[in-house]
Amino acid sequence: MISRKIEILVGLFVAAGIAAFFMLAMSVSNMSSYSSGESYEIKARFDNIGGLKVRSPVSAGGVTIGRVSDIQYNSESYEAEVSMRIEAKYNKFPVDTAASILTSGLLGEQFIGFEPGAEDEFLQSGDVIDLTQSALVLEQIIGQFLYSMSDNDDTGDAE
């Protein structure tokens, strides 16, 4: 028969493996940020979403309150349609809340920022946010900057 010591060591080995898995799942991976509880869905339409991706965070005042769940292109209105799942405990956003696509840091990931409005009614599941601001695309900004520079030069010459 197999000695008791071997069985105990094998048990310890398996337990250590499972413990390592949970340690990785809890403290290294994003499992803790998977919203375990209920959530509701809100949509927003943007002209340009830049580098926004599914599972990008949605934040209000810097706090992550949900994640982007789906991104579609609406070929009738020529806009990007972004669906977001917001945690159910954050259900007090006024209907005139503004959503804008922001960048964390200079070159960081993009996320959606909520800016609460002042209406008394709150956003319900399935509502669409009307006030949106598209992502800033660096190339466009540089292009506009150069354009306005050359404009200034022209007016300077004329004077």
């Binding site: 028969m1 197999i2 071997i6 069985e7 060591l9 094998v10 310890l12 080995f13 398996v14 250590a16 493996g17 499972i18 413990a19 390592a20 898995f21 340690m23 990785l24 799942a25 403290s27 290294v28 991976s29 994003n30 499992m31 803790s32 940020s33 998977y34 599972r55």
Partner: protein, 265 residues
């Protein structure tokens, strides 16, 4: 005329070697099917697997823990020196965690596993064959497939994912020791960056799937080489060498295939 004869001899050698390797591949495939079907009998005698888990898993644990610790520490040091130029040294944690979970954990564990446990399996089964213990078992109507090969195969397949997760976890701890205790990075951003970037499904589960695949392949090669070896001391030595070489190559090749399937977009 002489030249032509030598050319035809060469051709024959090449053909013989090709046929030989295909025959071995076929035997190995049939062997794998036999082993898997014999694994059913392990539900009657689970203690056989526990005993093998000890010699395959527990005794490999120490080399895995030490290797994981040092791999994590070295990775933290190297990525720190690379990232500090860009002011991105806070990303050391996420860099080490991603590399360990996706690649280094499964691959390095599998290579060490092939060297430590695989070679031992081949030598053990090969010696049993050379000393005619396997045919002795058959004489006593004990199926050596069910009694000897299947428990070892099963133990290898169970051990590999456990060892790989332990390797990654210890590696992250080692990186923490170097990055936070030695280099003085902020421990909050060391842990919070991976929590944002490392995905449970994409990274952690795929790493575990990889390690299971490597476990199947490495143990399969090890038990097959032992079972199929030429029953002499020289043949046994060759079989043990082949186990380590073939499983290492198979692991590295499969890692590329799996990575291309899992992470290519």
């Amino acid at each position: 005329m002489n030249l032509l004869n030598r050319f035809i001899d060469r051709l024959q050698q090449t053909g013989a070697a090709t046929i030989h390797s295909f025959r071995r591949l076929g035997r190995a495939s049939v062997f794998l099917l036999e082993v898997i079907s014999s694994c059913v009998s392990l539900f009657v005698r689970p203690m056989l697997v526990v005993k093998q888990l000890y010699s395959v898993g527990v005794q490999t644990l120490i080399i895995i823990v030490v290797a994981g610790l040092f791999v994590g520490m070295v990775m933290a040091l190297q990525s720190y020196y690379a990232l500090v130029d860009f002011g991105a040294e806070d990303s050391v944690g996420v860099m080490v965690a991603l590399s360990l979970l996706r690649e280094l954990g499964p691959v390095v564990t599998a290579l060490l596993f092939a060297g430590r446990a695989g070679s031992a399996l081949t030598a053990e089964i090969g010696l049993m064959k050379a000393t005619e213990q396997l045919s002795g078992m058959e004489m006593m109507a004990v199926n050596p497939m069910q009694r000897i090969v299947a428990p070892r195969f099963m133990a290898g397949v169970i051990s590999m994912p456990l060892l790989a997760t332990i390797f990654s976890a210890v590696g992250v701890m080692g990186a923490y020791l170097v990055a936070v205790q030695l280099l003085g990075l902020d421990s909050g951003s060391f842990w919070s960056q991976p929590q944002n970037k490392v995905d449970l499904h994409l990274d952690l589960y795929n790493g575990i799937i990889k390690s299971v695949v490597f476990g199947v392949v490495a143990t399969w090669i090890a038990v097959f080489e032992g079972y199929d070896c030429i029953p002499t001391s020289e043949g046994l030595g060759q079989a043990t060498t082949r186990t380590v070489v073939h499983s290492s190559l198979a692991i590295l090749f499969l890692d590329f295939v799996l990575t291309a399937l899992m992470f290519a977009k």
